[in-house]
Amino acid sequence: MSALLEARGLNKSFGAVTAARDIDISVAPHEIVGIIGANGAGKTTFVNMVTGWLKPTSGRILYEGHDIVGRTPRQITRLGICRSFQVAQIFGSASVFDNLLIALGIAEARGLAALRLLRRPDLADKADALLARYGIADYRDQSAGTLPQGVRKLLDIAMAMVAAPKVLLLDEPTSGISSDEKFELMDVVMGALKEDGVTVLFIEHDMEIVGRYVSRVVAFYQGEIICDAPPLVALADPKVKEFVIGEDLHNQTLLQGGVLQEAPDARG
Amino acid sequence: METAITILLDGLVFSSYLFLVSVGLTIIFGVMKILNVAHGSLYAWGAYTSAYLIGVWSEAGFGDAGTFLMIAVAALVVGCVLGFVLERGLIQFMYARDEVIVVLATFATFLILEDVILLVFGVDPYFAYQPMAYLGSAELGGILRDVYSLTLIGLAAVVGIVLWVGLTQTRWGKLLAAVIHDRELSVAMGIDVTKVYVLTFMLGAVLGALGGAYVAPMVSVAPGFGVEVIVLSFAVVVIGGMGSIPGAAIGALVVGIARAIAVHKLPEVELFVVYGVMAVVLVFRPEGLFAPASARKI
């Protein structure tokens, strides 16, 4: 099996706190991997390392066989690894349509192409197509800062997908979404992602979602992977039951620690 | 040797002056992230009020020792009143706005206060030589010095130490640290941030006014008095690290001593010292020598 994304012996510590310990993981093309774990288990740290936000203390991250440790988020995005955020990262003062337009503009912006007009029919068509695909066409001209949570999340994911990545990391796509809406949202997202054949890793607390959409579960506990198996096997694992699901039920409502969570979604 | 002592004393006097005029600026900046351009006006108001009160006091024939009281009164009254009025009347409405817009508002305030000074005190300079005459002169390092300017060193030291102890050792200082660190969290913890801000602004204003009030007897207090100070204090704050009190002290010392050396050894470069030091610091440490403020990360 040739891995698309592979982590080898990944370690990360913040002073005395170890957020990742000897992480080894290998993801094949088109896999859909669910990452679970209690708060502070190291899930977001892992995503942050893969996308270049954090630099691992030691270890390697291979993407298509090349080590990407030390690259910036921007470079990694350009390589084809994109991500969504637990707190949706959108352009609050622009309309939903413009958010996508900007994302599309940046995707084509190499050198002087960054000076191409943004309001072009071809870009507009692409933006409208994205709007339709993610089911948010109704909000097209609404200012992104005023959107309901679910739409923000969708917009966030849609923007991540603009660059047509090979790997997409979703950080808690359903957090903050009411339980009756979340399946609807996930159906839209996963449907859209499948069409593109993207490899997906997503962090999720909700075991129902995990059980329904993923082909493989990786469970984190205190910075280590304690289980890496198909969903049914993983969710039945006693360690997972004790350290992930058990604790998580108590803690689900609490905020999850991590760097990105502190990053504001708009300048405040 | 004589020259060395003289340079040291000259440098210390000038450093003390720089520290006094810039420490208020750096405190307000450190806590509230406001570059208070009106600081120069506070300085000028302090100086005018002090010179005026000293004049009134002396004319009433109360004896020159009491003029020091007038200096303190001028600093406190101007700092508290103007500080309170500015914070409550202007700055408090701007916390939700961009920090730079707040700077502009203080710039506007500076423009207004400059002309108000003219309207209140007129264009004629004020002289308040009494405190200086009272303390007389003393010979130090082979030349005569006026004792008054030497007391500047003591005053700066006292102000510096009091502030340092107050900010690191007292409950109030810790509250301040909490507010600086995270305003929202402080509110959640039940700290009265509004009060902290008002008091901080008033403290900074009193310090600015004190600088002017204490310098007034040494100079002719004339229109445009505050303009030069904005630039000087700003340079000191940049060199030391914006918002840091030890930084302001070090910045003042570096500039003050360097300038004294220049005046004695190489008068041609004297003017360039402040800016030269600043340029060097900026190139190697744009955040200043003591930098609590960091670049925004991405």
Partner: protein, 319 residues
């Protein structure tokens, strides 16, 4: 975002053409002079406006303004070059080059730190100029009367008119180009960066680079504006060209104009110059007070600047 037709380019084209023609026909010298000063400053303000849209306010653009002015003045010193075709591009280039270097430092900073760092850099130039006796220290020195493509006007009136026309053409060019820039991806990476830098990075564009580009652009425009002002006034000195109060003035006009359109700085700058002139004439003792009160009023009651007022009027007309 309204999808109505964008009238900016035809608007500024007709506008500047009208100003040029009507100006030549009707404007008395003093008002033409005032327009020249206002437009020269407006060029710098256009650059500051682009930075402002990005969420950055520079309190040190007098650095570039002064560099432009002194470049023009120095080229002409001792019977040197007076040809605007050389001096103005040189002014722009010098400012842009310095901006390019300093950009590597300032692009790491935001908000108040950006503002203060810019200010600090401008003060270094101020310090150098004040100290340099060869450049007249605080006095500065005279600037040569310009020639235009070899044409050397005989008298003051013709020179003024020539400058006025060149300036109108330059302003039009700058307005059109900057407007076009703002419609591009890079141009849209102004408010987008202000909104969310993280998203921009994760979309694959370097925020630092985008800011750097805008910074250089604003430096170039400030240099051009300063160069023109030096030619128009025939004199440069550190206090009028490089001091922090000059930077403050530029920011003031930026706020007064509002970020709404590339045309705004030209109108805002004109208003500022008129306020200043009349305040100085009517209340020589209190003109700063008037300027200060105006600034505060704008900050409190018209945060979108004069342009927002015009926009509001238009909306009322439509309704």
């Amino acid at each position: 975002m309204e999808t109505t037709r964008d009238w900016t380019i035809p608007g500024v084209t007709v506008g500047f053409a009208a100003v040029a023609v009507l100006g030549l026909l009707f404007l008395p010298d003093w008002l033409m002079n005032l327009t020249v000063i206002a437009f020269a400053r407006a060029l710098a303000v256009v650059g500051l406006m682009v930075l402002w849209r990005t969420g950055l306010v520079s309190f040190g653009h007098a650095l570039y303004f002064g560099l432009g002015a002194y470049t023009v003045a120095l080229l002409g010193k001792d019977d040197g070059i007076s040809e605007v075709l050389i001096t103005l591009p040189a002014a722009t280039l010098v400012a842009a080059t310095v901006g390019l270097f300093l950009g590597f430092i300032v692009r790491r900073y935001r908000e108040i730190f950006f503002a203060m760092l810019s200010l600090a850099f401008s003060m270094v130039l101020y310090g150098i100029l004040v100290k340099t006796e060869a450049l007249g220290s605080t006095d500065g020195f005279n600037v040569r009367t310009p020639t235009f493509l070899g044409f050397a006007p005989e008298d003051a009136g013709t020179t003024l008119r020539a400058i006025f026309l060149v300036l109108c053409a330059l302003c039009w060019t700058v307005a059109v180009l900057v407007h076009r820039y703002l419609q591009s991806t890079l141009g849209r990476l102004t408010t987008a960066i202000r909104d969310n830098e993280i998203r921009v990075e994760y979309l694959g564009y370097s925020v630092a680079q985008a800011i750097h580009g805008k910074y250089v652009m604003s430096a170039a425009l400030a240099g051009l504006g300063g160069g023109i002002l030096a030619i128009a006034l025939g004199q440069v000195d550190p206090d009028s060209m490089v001091n922090w109060t000059v930077s403050g003035e530029l920011v003031f006009v930026t706020i007064l104009s509002g970020p709404g359109s590339v045309a705004a700085p030209f109108i805002g700058s004109m208003i500022y110059e008129l306020i200043r002139t009349y305040a100085f004439e009517w209340l020589p003792h209190a003109w700063q007070l008037i300027v200060g009160v105006t600034l505060l009023s704008i900050i409190f009651f018209l945060p979108g600047g004069v342009w927002s007022l015009l926009a509001r009027l238009r909306r009322r007309e439509v309704e």
